[in-house]
């Protein structure tokens, strides 16, 4: 037993001997022998803190139980994860958490999605042994995107780490101590009063319902039930690749047809596709890019479709606003078009149209409320629900989602190209834009549509495209605001020679958005991404400018990209978001 390998060590976990890398923690090693040690503060993508104490295990010869999520393995270590003292202690730890937690699981928005609930059930906790004072703290519901309910917080600090490590925003911190401990923004301010981007990544890692999306399902039910309203819906590219997970499907399944069917069951009068509007975005954004290049406009141009990113720029880097494309996001373009072009075509009073979007995103809820987005003469988008809320609504109808027959989107705003579909992945907007910009600039047909260099989950990607005549288009793609910050630093330092930059606030792009099904991790994001590119590869049209519904829209109604009508309906402006504490 003395052949100690440099990189692996032998440990015995519950009697099973196993060789594991020296860098492993006990929790990681236990996975290899088929043990999922319960944990709450530990998250595979975040720094380890070991503060919740749920993952305690017994190490032979140790003075006390240790937190397996942070405790490293070492040679010859003998671990017990299921001894009486471990089971007893683990249960007590969870019971103490429950003693300071509301007992309203039945009515909780995270019911059946709550990690605390799951662990309490797994550990067989059948009663509350400890009764005492509970934390009293007000809910923060003062923004359209995220609800913070400190009473449900178990102080695991996953949100603190996700916001800091992914987004570099550090909105949350552990505050006070002892019984008064609470996780909250500086000075206990609301998320609308600090530099929160509303990206919702905190809601994707929160194990309980302390951080959730703002629930807009009831106002949508009310609209759907109103006979005087004509309710139309758009669904973002990433919804169809996440939704199946809510119904037991493996990540990476694409459920477009079932999703459309489910939307009709909910009672929508028209089921349209944000992918159509994504094609529209490419038409405007692509031509804006070429226009900037030709006229010496502000470079690099940066995408403007991720509302978390827009909030970040307006709050933290308002001096970058001139770099933002003035093109609205697909959601915004759809809203302005549905209450004008579609209303006119279908002969419907736009005042009666309720424009709804299903988004993988919590920040889209805020975007829809931007004062700028009412160019149709009405509020362009009235109600935004996330993928998670959509799934809850489907469940409320009793529809057997996985067995719904597939249906098609309605015309004309349901026709889309593969370019619109890939908007859901980091690099997708860039690739879609390049497909159109290349052909518009060179007048030649693009031979290879796949811009592999901008695909994948690398934090920052760079690529250059030879446009002919010695013109090389240099582009960069970043996802998460932490990576966006790095590119901004480069631009400010004058060392960025890009023409065009795509930024998505969420890891992986919209497919990893703050409104997507739980859980999300790298593997799941990769599976969703593969599904997106697979869908693109099988689309009839793969370039936005070849989408016949887009061609018809411009030919018969909109005019030219960047033209007068397009300028009025499809472009917007941004301004510094003053008065938030940074």
């Amino acid at each position: 037993m003395s052949s100690v390998n440099e990189t692996t060590v032998k440990v015995t976990i519950d009697g099973q001997e196993i060789s594991v890398p020296r860098s492993y923690t006990i929790l990681q090693a236990a996975r290899l022998v088929g043990l999922n040690i319960p944990h709450l503060c530990y998250h595979p993508e975040l720094a380890r803190e070991g503060n919740c104490r749920v993952c305690l295990v017994e190490v032979e010869g140790g003075r006390s139980l240790v937190a397996s999520c942070v405790y490293p393995v070492n040679e010859g270590m003998k671990v017990h994860t299921n001894s009486p003292i471990v089971r007893e202690t683990r249960k007590t730890v969870v019971e103490l958490m429950l003693a300071n937690h509301p007992e309203d699981c039945l009515f909780c928005v995270k019911n059946q999605h709550c990690e605390l609930q799951e662990i309490a059930a797994d550990l067989g906790i059948r009663r509350v042994r400890f009764h005492g004072e509970k934390r009293v703290a007000e809910k923060d519901e003062n923004n359209p995107s995220i609800v913070r309910d400190p009473q449900k917080c178990i102080l695991c600090t996953r949100c603190v780490r996700a916001c800091s490590e992914r987004q570099g925003l550090d909105i949350f911190s552990s505050v006070n101590r002892g019984f008064n401990s609470i996780v909250e923004p500086a000075f206990g301010l609301g998320l609308d009063e600090v530099a929160c981007s509303y990206c919702g990544q905190c809601t994707t890692v929160c194990p309980t319902a302390a951080l959730t999306e703002k629930d807009d399902t009831q106002i949508l039910w009310d609209a759907l039930a109103d006979p005087d309203k004509f309710v139309v819906v758009q669904t973002a590219p990433s919804v169809r690749i996440g939704l199946g997970e809510e119904f037991g499907m493996k990540s990476g399944g694409i459920v477009t047809g079932k999703m459309v069917a489910a939307l009709r069951r909910l009672g929508f009068d028209r089921v349209f596709d944000t992918d159509f509007a994504a094609d529209l975005t490419i038409m405007e954004e692509g031509h804006e890019l070429l226009h900037r290049i030709k006229t010496g406009g502000v470079m690099p141009m940066m995408t403007s479709c991720s509302p978390g990113w827009i909030n970040f720029v307006e709050t933290v880097h308002p001096d970058m606003i001139p770099h933002l494309s003035t093109a609205k996001s697909p959601q915004g373009m759809f809203g302005a078009t549905v209450k004008t072009y579609f209303a006119e075509k279908a002969g419907i009073d736009p005042a009666k149209i309720v424009s709804v979007s299903v988004m993988p995103c919590t920040a889209k809820k805020w975007e829809a409320k931007r004062p700028q987005l009412c160019d149709s003469g009405y509020r362009d988008v009235d109600i935004v629900i996330t993928t998670r809320e959509f799934a809850r609504m489907i469940k409320q109808t009793g529809a057997d989602f996985m067995n719904l027959s597939e249906e098609d989107f309605d015309n004309p705003m349901g026709v889309s190209s593969g370019a619109g579909q890939i908007f859901g992945a980091t690099g997708g907007v860039m690739e879609a834009a390049l497909r159109t910009a290349y052909e518009a600039y060179t007048g030649k047909t693009l031979e290879n549509l796949d811009f592999i260099g901008v695909r994948g989950l690398a934090g920052i990607k760079e690529a250059s495209v030879d446009m002919g005549d010695g013109v090389v288009l240099k582009v960069a793609v970043a996802h998460t605001l932490r990576n966006a910050e790095k590119l901004i630093e480069k631009i400010k330092a004058g060392t960025a020679d890009y023409h065009f930059i795509e930024i998505m606030a969420c890891p992986g792009g919209c497919l990893g958005g703050g409104g997507q099904p739980y859980p999300t991790d790298t593997e799941i994001r990769q599976a969703r991404m593969d599904a997106i590119y697979n869908a693109d590869a099988h689309m009839k049209y793969r370039k936005s400018h070849e989408n016949p519904a887009i061609i018809e829209l411009y030919d018969t109604w909109m005019g030219k990209p960047l033209g007068e009508r397009a300028h009025h309906l499809l472009h917007t402006h941004f301004k510094a978001w003053e008065g938030r504490l940074k």
Binding site: S164, D170, S173, V175, P185, A186, F187, V194, L581, K582
Partner: protein, 158 residues
């Protein structure tokens, strides 16, 4: 909290931050010295510290609220510490505390008088149980108290 921050104090803060702001591990000394300058840690001061050190404001706020030595509200010119340790408790500390509150006109969670004359705090033990019940005003100890002694003691500092 209504207190105007003097421009000259902000200049002193900037000097302090120029000196220590870029060094790692100096947040607590910076907060201590800032509190010496302002008497407490106003929001504007924490924002400035965050800007100059690059430490997130939320994290600084977390540190400030963790340690009882830091104060987010203005403090009185005189600090009254009312001992609530076991010996003092047994000998009537609660009555002394409520008399202090009454005499200072403090209600509920209020700790500091409106004229900033006094800040009242409770402490777990001062270490002179033989004098219980005891209070400290600034650095002076007053022991073997009854509620009626409170007014006379406070008057010495008014």
């Amino acid at each position: 909290m209504g207190e105007k921050i003097a421009e000259k104090d902000m200049v002193r803060l900037d000097e302090l931050l120029a000196d220590l702001g870029s060094q790692r591990g100096t947040l607590i000394p910076i907060l201590q010295k800032s509190q010496e300058i302002f008497g407490y840690l106003p929001r504007e001061v924490l924002v400035r510290i965050s800007e100059k050190t690059g430490s997130p404001l939320s994290r600084i706020y977390g540190v400030v609220t963790f340690y009882s030595q830091f104060h987010l509200k203005p403090r009185g010119r005189n600090i009254v510490r009312s001992c609530q340790g076991t010996a003092c408790h047994v000998r009537g500390a609660k009555g002394i505390l409520s008399e202090l509150k009454k005499e200072l006109g403090l209600e509920g969670e209020e700790a500091t008088t409106k004229d900033l004359g006094f800040t009242l705090e409770t402490v777990a033990c001062i270490g002179c149980c033989g004098l219980a019940p005891v209070i400290m005003v600034n650095d002076e100890t007053h022991g073997r108290l009854v509620p009626d002694s409170v007014k006379g003691i406070l008057d010495q500092y008014r």
